[in-house]
Symmetry: C4
Subunit: 363 residues, 4 copies
């Protein structure tokens, strides 16, 4: 595993990890990691939207004893920065998800393990020194889904995050153009032996309406899933008040505002735009989390001000992993937390509970 000493001296922000990772990754891999759906408009919008939100500076506030801790679905966390589920960490580093989990634990960060991890979820959990959540892609067969749930429970995962925004893949044109393919030896091992959706064949037609959507999860499947586990259940990919309300109604324990990092449907709005809509609808009944384009402590602060309990970062963990392994992931999270503290200090907020809309300019 790469040591701290290998992190270049000019890495002082998350964008520096992205720059260095871009130099180290072959073009097809870069297209996979940094690419997005179709024309990448939503991925760009995610970044731009946080930047466009402005903060209300405040001076001379009493910040003695200030702190970033929170309690979230039964976990006490020192800060609200979570590692989003990302497939195949082995693409970026030989130690794969183990390295990421080590970096997370070193900084007290919660990590969400992907269904599409390259290592078996049990292996990741066995070596992890910090808390894990498990991200679940529901399978065409309920038995397969249930098997994944039972394995996550047995491995000690603390919650299930069901991704609901990608029943079909987005148009991954960037990685298609670059000719990206998973290398030998990297595959979604957690899904070994599971039945894929049955697609009808028709010339000049895509799979979407020829079977794929017939096998896609529906609200009734979420209700069933909720009945099958005592783990907290979060839905990831909620972008509307309508779906947020249904999520509450079906009894899930949290929602994550996400557009899949712009990798699913292009021209969805930025999550910074959807977050306040969802948070207003949920109105505190369950926690609302958010990902998509979080690259600065100020971004995180803005998400909290718009109603998020915590935020998740995706691509930056792969960038940091590629550049510095576990040490890189830890450093990346340290930077982000340090930035969040500066942002809280200069807007006069002593804890997360004190972060509300008045943090934002024009509120």
């Amino acid at each position: 595993m790469a040591g701290q000493a290998e992190i270049p001296a000019d890495v002082v922000a998350l964008c520096d990890y992205e720059r260095h990772a871009a130099e180290r990754m072959p073009a097809p891999l870069r297209a996979y990691v940094d690419g997005a759906g179709a024309d990448g408009l939503t991925a760009q919008a995610n970044l731009a939207a946080w930047q466009a939100i402005r903060l209300q500076g405040r001076v001379l506030a009493d910040l003695r004893g200030a702190d970033t801790g929170l309690r979230l679905l039964g976990l006490d966390l020192p800060h609200p920065l979570i590692l989003a589920p990302v497939a195949f960490h082995g693409l970026a580093h030989a130690e794969a998800e183990h390295a990421t989990a080590l970096g997370a634990a070193a900084t007290g960060s919660l990590m969400v393990v992907s269904t599409q991890s390259g290592l078996p979820l049990e292996d990741i959990a066995a070596r992890a020194q910090g808390p894990l959540w498990f991200q679940l892609y529901m399978q065409p067969e309920r038995g397969d889904t249930l098997s994944l749930v039972r394995r996550a429970e047995a491995a000690g995962c603390r919650a299930l995050v069901v991704s609901v925004d990608a029943p079909v893949n987005g148009l991954r044109n960037m990685e298609q153009r670059a000719g990206f393919r998973l290398p030998e030896g990297i595959r979604a091992v957690n899904l070994d032996g599971m039945r894929p959706p049955q697609i009808r064949s028709e010339p000049g037609r895509a799979a979407t309406f020829l079977g794929l959507m017939d096998a896609a999860p529906r609200w009734e499947d979420i209700a069933w899933l909720k009945s099958q586990t005592r783990l907290p259940l979060l839905l990831k990919g909620i972008m509307s008040a309508h779906d947020a309300e249904r999520a509450v109604a079906v009894g899930v324990d949290g929602v994550i505002v996400s557009n899949h990092g712009g990798r699913a449907l292009d021209t969805l709005p930025a999550t910074a735009e959807a977050l306040p809509v969802v948070a207003r609808q949920v109105a505190g009944r369950i926690p609302v989390l958010c990902d998509g384009g979080i690259r600065r402590g100020t971004d995180a602060l803005k998400a909290l001000a718009l109603g998020a309990s915590a935020v998740l970062v995706g691509r930056p963990q792969i960038h940091a992993l590629a550049v510095g392994g576990a040490a890189g992931v830890a450093h990346m999270l340290t930077i982000l937390r340090a930035e969040l503290e500066v942002a809280m200090a200069l807007t006069g907020r002593r804890d997360l509970a004190g972060i509300d809309e008045t943090v934002l300019w024009g509120s």
Copy 2:
């Protein structure tokens, strides 16, 4: 005719066809095909406006048995993607309009043959395996116009699309600068023997107000034309509620919101802006179609959400034709349909009837 094998592997979206076509076409031809009126602001606006409209993602909807079919002016179509009338396909491919028609038929796509086709409309129709509409430029002499109508009827065209937005050519500065001229052997054969408008000569004056507009069609000519044929009649180039209302009043069967791909009057608004204005005025009395800048399935979905029954694509068919002939056209349409299905799936719509304004963010 170019086979499927010749389509480059990195063609995964319509913009890829544009890129490859640009490499294959000489600069003057490129200026003709991809150029636009004056400074090209409207052509750019067409593209940008679709991109700027954002979608409302929806999750976990029941999409079993979803489908893109529609019934339009007596035709049953498997999808709402139509090939717009475009002049002189022979500029892009030796098989000219025959190749386009073959690609259209292979994907169940309706094609609109241009008055300015390089092949006689009868020849195109004779070999076409799918339905055709005929685009009509009204001529200074009613007898000439009627002759075109009768020929289209005899050839089996299923509707007439009268272009009303270009009584004078736009300022085609880009092709003028590049020195584009039609090559030997390509001309508007359908118009052979017809009388051009009579222009008065005056030094330092253009033809517009010296005869051209005297010969241009007026609303009364549309009424006359409607009385002369039993084919459905559509007006192409409607950009205002005022003209939409007159179109309904004069009894036409459909209107197409179009700014001629930005090739006519520069600084007209994007069709994405005019479409809802026209659709609101027409209020379902006749079908409203739309073209201009449709390059993605999401663009098509947005047009449908704004009131269009179907959309037309222009330049992309020439790009695809130049790159892959009939196979290219078929592939281009397959991509677009596949993208539309993904967009419907990720906004939770099972058929065209279910596509309304709630597909759009902020509705």
Copy 3:
């Protein structure tokens, strides 16, 4: 004088003249001609504002016998395109103002001769075959001003255009950086022998508040001037409703909305923004004209729709003069008129009287 044959074949719009002129003029001269005040923001805004206004296309209107003529302050003009006053045409062409006047006459265009013409106004007028107005900079001494007025009257000028927006020069940083100086033999000959303003000297201070503004014209001077001549009097440089009202009150015969082509005070709004404000205030009591960034027939149409009776073009005449002499100026004006006719045709307007706000999208 350059003949028609010398105009490059790829000159098809006014921007082409600008491009070719830029290649022919030495950098300092270019900085003088195309430069603007300070950071050039207003000069850019002039161009961008016309482009940003969108037109409402209209189809199938009856345009038989359409025409662009107008009557303006006693003159019958075939079109509303006027040559704005510009200093020192000799910088661009050996025939100087004579060539410009010839190009104007060949196209029936009104020309406004500058106080700062390089040729004596009497010489220009003697050879001019079309109507002239005279642009007047008021002088510190009323006697000097009166002398200019009497000379313009005697030379047959048909109106006086008093520039009121530049009592001090704008910050011509671009030409200052480029080191522009008037070449030997070019000077404001019309002002020979006139008394300049008296400036007090103080270290580290500019002239503005040390005498220059003490000598600048005031409203009472306009009233006096109006009493001294029977020629129609226009004020050039009106950008506010306040000053427009005072102009009407003091009895002038017309106002020209102008920001001196962005050469005076930077960050003034575009004239396209000030025009409707001024026109609304004037409410038809006197003609309102407009210049600043008119480069297309659509720009002219928009100005007319916003309340202008006619428009003036400045820099393009110098570009055309540099490239093609009198023939260039005539060609440039022919292009602009032809574009205006196309724009009228495609918005369904048969004459200037029919051009109102409904020409504009969103009206």
Copy 4:
């Protein structure tokens, strides 16, 4: 000290000093001087916001005897352009703060000496020929703060400017990436012997919430400070109505709207946006000043129109110092004053009292 002769001939505006300084300064120093916090969005916004505000031109006003003088906190100043506190002038010029003070005095400009001056404040004051204010960073120990105050009083400073917007450093990523370090021999000599804040050590944690904010000044410290000195006290870094009201309540004599030139918290709004909010709240009870992105006389005029009594310029003094020493600073201030006069002349304002919101377009 560099003489006037050394100023390059193409320096005609403040941006020219920036350009030339960039060529003369090594990259790390440039990153320090011209860099900003995090992604530099606020620094850019400062510049862009002044540019985006447009002016209402006015003509033919009576400006005889016009003047830019003002009275501010007991000082009669010939113009409202003040040198903002900037650290370590010795980085740009061997004569350091002495040179700046000489340039200020030559143009009648007030200078604010920084706590972080490289020369002892007493030395600067002893040689200064014009009025000085002292910028104060409050220290963890009140005794240390008081010592600075007494020294400023003894040195004859005419007011204290307490910076309250940077209890922690912003994320100076640009200078971090460039590896900037203070050279040997340059340090904050005024702080020699003072006690730094006590930081607790914790792995993977930043200092912000581990002691730094515990030592930061609070409103009660301002009240205490006010009670300790008879000098006028200004708070620098006020960006909200809330803090402006508290500043008035605590009895300070003025506030400076500032975001530390974008060097503290990134994505704070531009000062041009915060200024009217603060000025409206203060409502004339105490003077409001403003800095951040002032580069043109028009910028200064706009700030005055939005409620500022005077404006401060920061980085331009370092640029001018690097290029021309004291003469450069004087020249820079002369340019800015000359530009302000032109802007007043062309908006028809004879003195600062006459500058109100009607200077702004759209008011």
